[in-house]
């Protein structure tokens, strides 16, 4: 799941995650999307750029174990 806050500065970022995803789906570059969302610091920006959802990977094995 996307981190609720930036690891470095502690700003809340998770409320912008779905908007960010929508902007990427519209064909915008990550830079444009982050600029539009008003995320200025690079600590918060890397949270968006480097995030990978693990929970839907795990979900593929639902029922196979446990």
């Amino acid at each position: 799941m996307f981190p609720v806050r930036c690891f470095t500065c502690g700003a809340v970022i998770a409320h912008l995650w779905e908007e960010y995803k929508k902007k990427l789906a519209e064909g915008k570059s990550p830079k444009e999307a982050l600029d539009e969302l008003g995320i200025e610091r690079y600590c918060c920006r890397r949270m968006f750029l480097t995030y990978k959802s693990i929970i839907n990977e795990v979900a593929r094995f639902k029922g196979a174990v446990g």
Binding site: M1, C9, V12, A14, H15, R41, I55, K62
Partner: protein, 261 residues
Amino acid sequence: MEVEYVEDREDKIVFIIKNVPVALVNSIRRAIIGHVPTMAVDYINVYMNTSFLYDEMLAHRIGLIPLKADIDKYNFQDKCECGGEGCPNCQVSLRLNVEGPKTVYSGDFISDDPEVKPVYDNIPVVELYEGQQLMIEAVARLGTGKEHAKWKPVSICSYKIIPKIEISDCSLCKACVEACPRKILEIKGEKIVVNDILKCSMCMECVKVCEDNAIKVEETDNYLFTIESISMPAKEVLKRAINILKNKAVEMNEILKHINS
């Protein structure tokens, strides 16, 4: 002491404080980070959790959700009449009862006190898949940043020196103009001028490249202070921090009187 606002938004203020000792500026910063109380979830009762996240993971994520609250209405748990057991004067329960498939958002919590609620309703907490279920009671209480970072009222809270740049006997070689990483130096006519002194990071690159030792960057007693708040207006954070400092100073005076008598 002079204060001048550079940026003045509800969630972010930037201001200049002039002619103050650095110790005072730093004590304001530390009071903001460590002593201004806010509300956050500190304890959760898990009645049912068949999601992919462990209970501890959920507790961690729920704890980080910022809560809006009238903090004057609540007591610190250790100073409450209930003696720390927990009562409506010192804690609030937020209930969550959801079934998958669905993404659980911070807005799905049902609070006992309608005034205490998440600042944002769309923070994803966990994704539930078919047949998964969550039944949680999250207990929020007052706390300070001294105890855990989730109670910090701010994200960025910092200050920097506004330096004084002096240029004399300059040969206009332009080396400093090119070296400055913030691009704030410029040649205007027969002189080097500083465009935006607030942007200067005091990196001293300009001093290093100047062969004539013509440029000087000096520390001053003026500071640029930035506060970015999370769950209450930035100005309120500042006001509360200064009040806390004031009370501490009064307390200190009492102690001094006691020692001297």
